[in-house]
């Protein structure tokens, strides 16, 4: 299971890297979203995917899933959401100001 998940994360991060290298600012924003997915899954996987009860003590189970990575990922999700939202509005404002969201056209002149 872990091996499969590691490969999944690897593929997601590879695609995210690819999206980062495209010209469209929106696709870069997609890349940010994908990168956070990949990293979240990787964190969860690398802390072990042992089968146990969900980390709720009312379950009265013998073993529980590790709660710490879940807390870490929860924090990470919220932060990456904040960043993505900001990036999106930035892309929107960039388009409004410059009339393009093509990164190649946003480069500016050499003397700027």
């Amino acid at each position: 299971m872990e091996i499969l998940m590691i490969f999944t994360s690897g593929i997601i991060i590879a695609v995210a890297t690819y999206l980062f290298m495209t010209r469209s600012l929106l696709r870069v924003a997609f890349g940010v979203v994908m990168l956070s997915h990949g990293v979240h899954l990787l964190i969860l996987t690398l802390s072990g995917l042992e089968t146990g009860a969900p980390p709720l003590l009312t379950e009265n189970a013998e073993a529980y899933t590790d709660p710490l990575p879940q807390a870490v990922i929860l924090t990470a999700i919220v932060i990456s959401f904040g960043v993505t939202a900001f990036l999106l509005v930035l892309a929107y404002r960039t388009y409004k100001e410059h009339g393009t969201e093509d990164l190649e056209e946003l480069r500016g002149n050499a003397d700027e």
Binding site: G10, V15, T17, T22, L49, D66, L68, Y92
Partner: protein, 808 residues
């Protein structure tokens, strides 16, 4: 603090107060306030001159500066320091006096700048020659470079002044840095001491160290750049843009001799090696020859003097190298011939300071009174400026090495030294030594030629009033005092050279070659005019004859290409190098700073993957262990398969709404995975966030165009695919290694603590929530802050807009 410390510090203190005096008493020339200071310092230092027999006792005083690093402001006054201190203060006095009359007291002339820089220089130079601590010496050394550049660019509105200042700064400071590195090496070799005297006391052990050669080369680089040795001499002719008092003071008498001082000071250490001898002699003689040949081509009087200074500095440097041979012999008590060279070096040092100072001042007068320094326009000034003419004649004759002036004596001693060295059988001299007197002789011929040229083309010939912008007449008396004093010294030292013998030369020689005389015994310097008819005299006669022959035929050769090239060809190398430095660094920057996000992403990816892969192989840390895994339920396969499939499709879809749907599918599949891996809170949050995100994207899409289609560029696409593939593989390999590490080592997760204590300590049953708000509440606090900042940022982006023409 001793009085000697104040000798060094007094000019700096004075420099602080001088601007106040300048603004308070505008009608009085600021130089008058300054004049007493170098004079007092000169008299004070002169009290240390041993007028009786018995040599000179060195004086040492220490003030702690940074004792923990061994850096102390130690002043050390022995014969060598005293000689230099006397030169600096003595010529300093005369230069200040001269500059009072040279630089007019006009409202737009920033006299306060001039004198503050000059005082800074004087203090720094005194610091260089009086410091016993290498670091303190270095500090003062760089201060001389700085103040020298400031003085060269005194008329900073002139392009050439700025060029000259920048050039001298670049060259001397890069030499200074090399010297600092050399000092650091010396510090290590000598067992953690910066004190020159302590280093000298263990010289025998130090020269055995393998680091001695790099240390020596680095220090010599500093000395050579400062003292304008070949090929670093190119800054000196361009420094002639400075006001003439500055040229006379810095670029003939004092600063350019700082390198000479350093070489002389460290001779007791490095002189024991053969490399020291060879480097000094070869570079010194090259500089001597090159300088004297280049001087002949100049048409600017100051240009001639600049190259002449270069060549004379080379002469002194070569003599110091030859003198170091004395340290190599153990039986020096019986032979005096080996230290003739050192004696000649010290003697010529004094002589050069006197006659070159006088000549610069005379040239300054000519420039001041006629408005030009170009020898093509000058001529026939003999009868119009009789005093200047006399001083120049004395100075030029001394420079050319004619009797009865002091230059003759030092030139004779120089020939003696070269002949002696050529006859030595140490340092493999028997084969190459014969070239030393020959080179010296050729250089002397050229020296004679340019001295002669300066004389004939300035003072003899026909006076043409139309060549000058103003009415030409003799300079005012005040301007003439300093050159007359220096000219008189030239004659005085020429006629009575032994005045300097036990007062200045002997103490200086004791410092350069310690142990040359047994304790209690005196070593006597005797300089005679007449040795009888010997080789040296015949060489001088030949110099005069050949020199006259060349000088008289100079008109014929003036058309030759050699004479047309006034600028030193090495300048082209310097300018080209400097230009290329700028151009190439621009090229390098333009090459990699493309302004494209994808390029920077590419660099980062390649670097991270490269570093990671290197670490895998270098430390053999790639470890794949497939054991210890949980099973794979069928529905999980389905979800993961869907996730991978939609991810892989994403880069190929160019319609943005399809993109967005895919992104939403991926997000919900990730949420499903969280459900499968028993993370209910994560699944909940992921679902919510993904929904909001999709809504946000849709909102933005409403205002934006369809995604621009990438232009077909197969190579770039391939590169992108390869790099992202590499990143993916690297992540996978890292993940597998981490997984293997987890399986192989028995790391107990910290989570057992949370599971056990969630209820007893925090009173909560949802462990994830307890961790978020109780055990690790600070993370959550800051995460809330992040969201707040993002929200504020978004509001600012949308709400606060600048008007169209406003620019940020």
């Amino acid at each position: 603090m001793s009085l000697l410390h104040f000798v060094v510090l007094a000019p700096f203190v004075m420099a602080i107060f001088l601007p106040f005096l300048y603004y308070k008493f505008r009608s009085i020339h600021t130089g008058w306030f300054l004049l007493p200071l170098p004079l007092i310092l000169f008299i004070y230092v002169a009290t240390y001159i041993p007028f009786g027999g018995g040599g000179m006792e060195a004086v040492e005083h220490t003030v702690q500066w940074v004792p923990s690093l061994g850096i102390n402001f130690t002043v050390y006054l022995d014969g060598l320091s005293m000689l230099f201190a006397l030169l600096i203060t003595g010529i300093g006095t005369l230069v200040v006096l001269y500059s009072i009359f040279y630089i007019a007291n006009k409202p737009d002339e920033p006299l306060n700048n001039f004198y503050v820089y000059l005082l800074m220089f004087m203090g720094a130079m005194l610091g260089v020659v009086l410091s016993d601590n290498l670091i303190v010496l270095y500090v003062f050394w760089e201060l001389t470079s700085l103040s020298s550049s400031l003085l060269i660019a005194y008329w900073f509105h002139k392009e050439k002044s700025r060029y000259g200042a920048q050039k001298s700064m670049l060259i001397t400071v890069s030499g200074g840095f090399a010297m600092l590195a050399g000092f650091a090496l010396l510090y290590i070799i000598a067992g953690n001491t910066f004190s020159i005297q302590e280093i000298i006391s263990q010289a025998d052990a130090i020269v055995q160290d393998p680091l001695i050669l790099p240390a020596m080369l680095l220090i010599l680089l500093g000395a050579f750049t400062k003292s304008a040795q070949f090929p670093f001499h190119i800054w000196l002719p361009d420094a002639m843009e400075a006001p003439t008092p500055v040229s006379a003071y810095l670029h003939s008498a004092t600063m350019v001799k700082a390198g000479i001082y350093l070489v002389a000071r460290l001779t007791p250490v490095f002189g024991l090696t053969a490399e020291w001898f060879w480097i000094l002699v070869i570079f010194g003689l090259t500089t001597l020859l090159w300088g004297s040949i280049s001087a002949v081509r100049q048409t600017d009087l100051k240009g001639i003097l600049a190259f002449s200074t270069v060549s004379q500095l080379g002469l002194i440097m070569a003599l110091l190298g030859m003198g170091a041979a004395a340290l190599h012999y153990d039986f020096i008590e019986t032979e005096t011939m080996y230290y003739t060279a050192t004696m000649a070096a010290v003697f010529h040092l004094i002589n050069h300071a006197t006659f070159k100072g006088a000549l610069f001042m005379a040239v300054g007068i000519i420039d001041h009174e006629t408005g030009t320094r170009d020898v093509k326009r000058l001529g026939g000034l003999m009868a119009i400026m009789p005093v200047t003419f006399t001083v120049s004649l004395v100075g030029l004759a001394a420079m050319a090495g004619l009797p009865p002036f002091n230059g003759f004596l030092s030139k004779e001693m120089f020939f003696t030294a070269t002949l002696n060295v050529a006859s030595l059988d140490i340092f493999n001299l028997e084969t190459l030594g014969v070239f030393i007197p020959i080179v010296a002789w050729i250089a002397s011929v050229f020296t004679f030629v340019y001295s002669m040229m300066m004389f004939t083309r300035t003072f003899t010939g026909e006076f043409k009033p139309e060549n000058y912008e103003k009415e030409v007449h003799e300079a005012p008396a005040g301007l003439l005092i300093s050159p007359i004093i220096l000219g008189s010294l030239v004659i005085l030292f020429g006629l009575f050279p032994n005045l300097l013998g036990y007062t200045l030369i002997e103490p200086a020689m004791q410092a350069i070659l310690p142990g040359i005389t047994p304790v209690g015994e005196q070593f006597y310097v005797n300089i005679y005019h007449w040795h009888g008819i010997n080789t040296e005299l015949l060489m001088t006669v030949a110099v005069v004859l050949f020199g006259l022959a060349i000088a008289l035929n100079l008109k014929k050769w003036a058309e030759a290409a050699f004479f047309q090239r006034e600028r030193d060809p090495l300048n082209r190398a310097y300018d080209f190098g400097l230009d290329q430095l700028v151009v190439q660094s621009q090229n390098v920057t333009n090459f990699h700073m493309t302004g494209r996000l994808r390029d920077y992403m590419l660099y980062m990816s390649v670097f991270i993957v490269g570093l990671g892969m290197y670490t895998f192989f270098r430390y053999n840390s790639l470890d794949i262990n497939l054991e210890g895994q949980g099973g794979i339920p069928g529905y999980a396969i389905l979800v993961i398969g869907g996730l991978i499939a939609s991810t892989l499709v994403l880069p190929f879809v160019h319609k943005r709404i399809t993109n967005l749907v895919l992104l939403g599918v991926i997000g919900f599949l990730v949420a499903l995975l969280f459900v499968i891996f028993r993370a209910p809170d994560l699944a909940l949050t992921q679902l919510l966030v993904e929904t909001v995100m999709v809504v946000l994207f849709l909102l933005v899409f409403r205002h934006m165009p369809e995604i621009t289609k990438e232009k077909k560029a197969p190579l770039t696409t391939t590169v992108k695919a390869l790099v992202s593939g590499a990143v993916g593989i690297f992540v996978i390999l890292t993940g597998l290694s981490v997984h293997a590490l987890r399986a192989e080592s028995d790391i107990t997760p910290i989570s057992d603590f949370f599971i056990e204590n969630s209820v007893p300590l925090a009173g909560g049953y949802n462990m994830v929530n307890v961790i978020l708000v109780d055990f690790r509440g600070l993370d959550t606090l800051l995460e809330v802050l992040v969201l707040g900042i993002a929200a504020l940022g978004i509001v600012t982006l949308i709400k606060h807009r600048l008007k169209g023409d406003e620019d940020v």
